[in-house]
Amino acid sequence: MTRGLGGGLFAFSYALLFFLFLFGPLIIMVITAFNSSAFPRVVPWECFTTDWFGVLVRNERLMSGLWTSLAIGVAVVAIAVPFGLAGALALADIGPRLRAGLYAVLITPILIPGVVLGISTIVFWSFVGRGVGASYDTVFYNGFFLTLLGQVAFIASYAMLVLNARLQRFDPTLTEAALDLGATPGQAFRRILLPFMKPALGSAAFITFLASFENYNTTVFTILSGNTFTTALASKVRLGTDPSLSALAVIIIAVTLIGAMVSEAHTRRQELLRSGKAGQSRFYANPLSRLLTHPGAVLVLLLGVTGFIAWSASRVDANVCRAAILQEKQQLQERLMQEQRNRIQQQAPAQPATPSPSNNPSPFGGAFNPNSLAPPVQPAPPAAPPPSNNPSPFGGAFNPNSLAPKQ
């Protein structure tokens, strides 16, 4: 441990704080997914419910966007990974003088703002489309095709970085040995280099898929009037929020955590097997624990536990609790109205003015007003279903002035 340099107590507490910062927002979001309140929040806690998962699944725009996103993701992987590999190979064999230049060119797409990439892609292809006299229903005005090209432009750079890191550890004498032993260059490539690159190809495919799936900045332009999962999500968040998005986060986090644990189990198993100490390890002495530490078994176990939790949670009926809350609210409202009526009656002789709601400053300052976040006009909402539930119980209804002035 390095003395007084981030070792010991300071390092521990700093790391703790840091991970609190990383996970705090996610934990809060997870909690809100199970609160029956129509606005995502932790307090006041109303009822435990899993209804928001149902609301999420019934959102057709999100679900159709999901399929589009998956299709685009697969296509992007299929193009970006080979492009990245080509870039990495070119970098490996290029002379030192040109290398820096090529590296700069291949890395730039990561630095170009996604918005710029999206715009330049649609402008360029509509330019090409006009050049060949294509009509609007051709590939040049197709959101799927444009999104694919716009995303590949920069996602291939991610693949290139991952593959380049692995390629730098490749020993070129291996290829030369194969050539000396009579293999054709193509054979050497397929039998020596590609197998060496396999793990990196896997992680590159994974990263490119994720990057494609969650990309917003480029896609929001290139998808034109269509929707991917992320753009549908974004327009939903901007129009008004409800806890079904938290429910989505719960699903993603659960999948991520299960994936991370299974991959951890896999790594440890590989290490154990490679180190040759498998025989001495207590996990391998016992056939049961040997089976249980297998990544497949870990996956099955985790899925089972998650499934059981989901099943038992879905059996909790929130209706009774929700009715009670509703009743409570109605009573409160009645009491408030009664008080107000009394006050008006008292004031009536002296001051006939009724309290107008517009004088009432909203406690939310209009921050939750859906209109205040969205730009004035939505980009061609294709049969957009009106936001089914009010984002906030107050919904800015108290505050007609809060439609923020747009410049």
Partner: protein
């Protein structure tokens, strides 16, 4: 040209003709068709008038600097609104970048030199998991956190720190926190990659000779971390300046990000030409800023992504 021919024969000899053709076609297509030509097309369009479709290519379709002069002068005097938004975006991006450097440097150092074995692996997983969650959902989480009835306001009011809800969203606190949060992973791994190469004996030696801990960091660790910090800072700065989702979701109602103006010209006003001009301005200004900073701090572009 000779260098290119040499490259071609090297690849063809080593990997075969098929692979060489594949590399050549893929890299050319990627660089030319996906990167360079679209930027040129965007620049070309930004120099044109916003004409109805039948008139495009006709006699009225001439080059103009109108869209750029609109950015500078608006409809009359200086266009303080748009220029102000651009400057504000850049300043905010710098603030977020600095914030990330400050937050991530200790973690990267701990990860590289203090944490071991299981703890280090758990830290890496802990860093990656939040990064897998969608950008939009991350911003959404910060809206829940910083809303008027959010957790922060709830805790603050319960502890009696402040009495009425503070509007963190209007004050842009939520936006800065959300942006800094989004890009921590990039910064941590960039700095980590650099700091990891530091020989721990150097730290020990400095300590033995009586250097205080901050002096060790300043004189021994920071010089090694510099390329990593530069690489991370470049990426965080560019991504923050080009962010669209987080400002749309977390930005205050009267507060625009420059990308939002581009978005409005493009999608709401349907003025591709002006949108392209603004996008070009964003690209040029951001790249110029990054290259200036690289010059000032004496790092090369080759350090990025390492």
């Amino acid at each position: 040209m000779a260098a290119l021919r040499q490259l071609w024969s090297t690849i063809a000899d080593r990997h075969g003709l098929g692979v060489a053709v594949f590399i050549g076609v893929a890299v050319l297509f990627w660089v030319l068709v996906l990167i360079v030509l679209p930027q040129l097309a965007m620049f070309d369009v930004s120099l044109r008038h916003n004409l109805p479709r039948p008139e495009i290519g006709g006699p009225a379709d001439v080059y103009t600097l109108k869209n750029y002069s609109y950015f500078l002068f608006g409809n009359g005097a200086l266009n303080t609104l748009d220029i102000g938004v651009l400057v504000k975006t850049l300043i905010a991006a710098v603030i977020v970048t600095l914030l990330d450097i400050v937050i991530c440097y200790p973690i990267a150092f701990i990860l590289a030199h203090s944490a071991t074995g299981v703890a280090a692996r758990m830290m890496v997983i802990g860093l990656i998991v939040p990064f897998w969650i969608n950008d939009i959902l991350r911003a959404f989480a910060f809206r829940i956190l910083f809303g008027a009835t959010g957790v922060i306001n709830g805790i603050g009011q319960a502890l009696g720190l402040w009495s009425s809800p503070i509007d963190f969203i209007r004050a842009d606190v939520a936006l800065y926190a959300g942006l800094a949060y989004t890009y921590t992973l990039l910064m941590v791994f960039s700095i980590y990659n650099a700091v990891e190469t530091l020989d721990r004996n150097q730290i020990e030696a400095a300590r033995d000779m009586g250097a205080s801990w901050w002096r060790v960091h300043w004189r021994v660790v920071l010089p090694v971390a510099k390329p990593g910090i530069a690489s991370g800072a470049t990426m965080v700065f560019m991504l923050t300046a080009g962010a669209l989702a987080a400002p749309q979701i977390l930005g205050g109602p009267s507060n625009l990000w420059f990308t939002q103006i581009i978005y409005q010209w493009f999608n709401d006003a349907g003025d591709w030409q002006r949108g392209s001009a603004y996008a070009t301005i964003l690209l040029v200004v951001c790249l110029a800023f990054v290259f200036l900073m690289m010059r000032v701090f004496k790092v090369s572009i080759g350090a990025i992504g390492r």
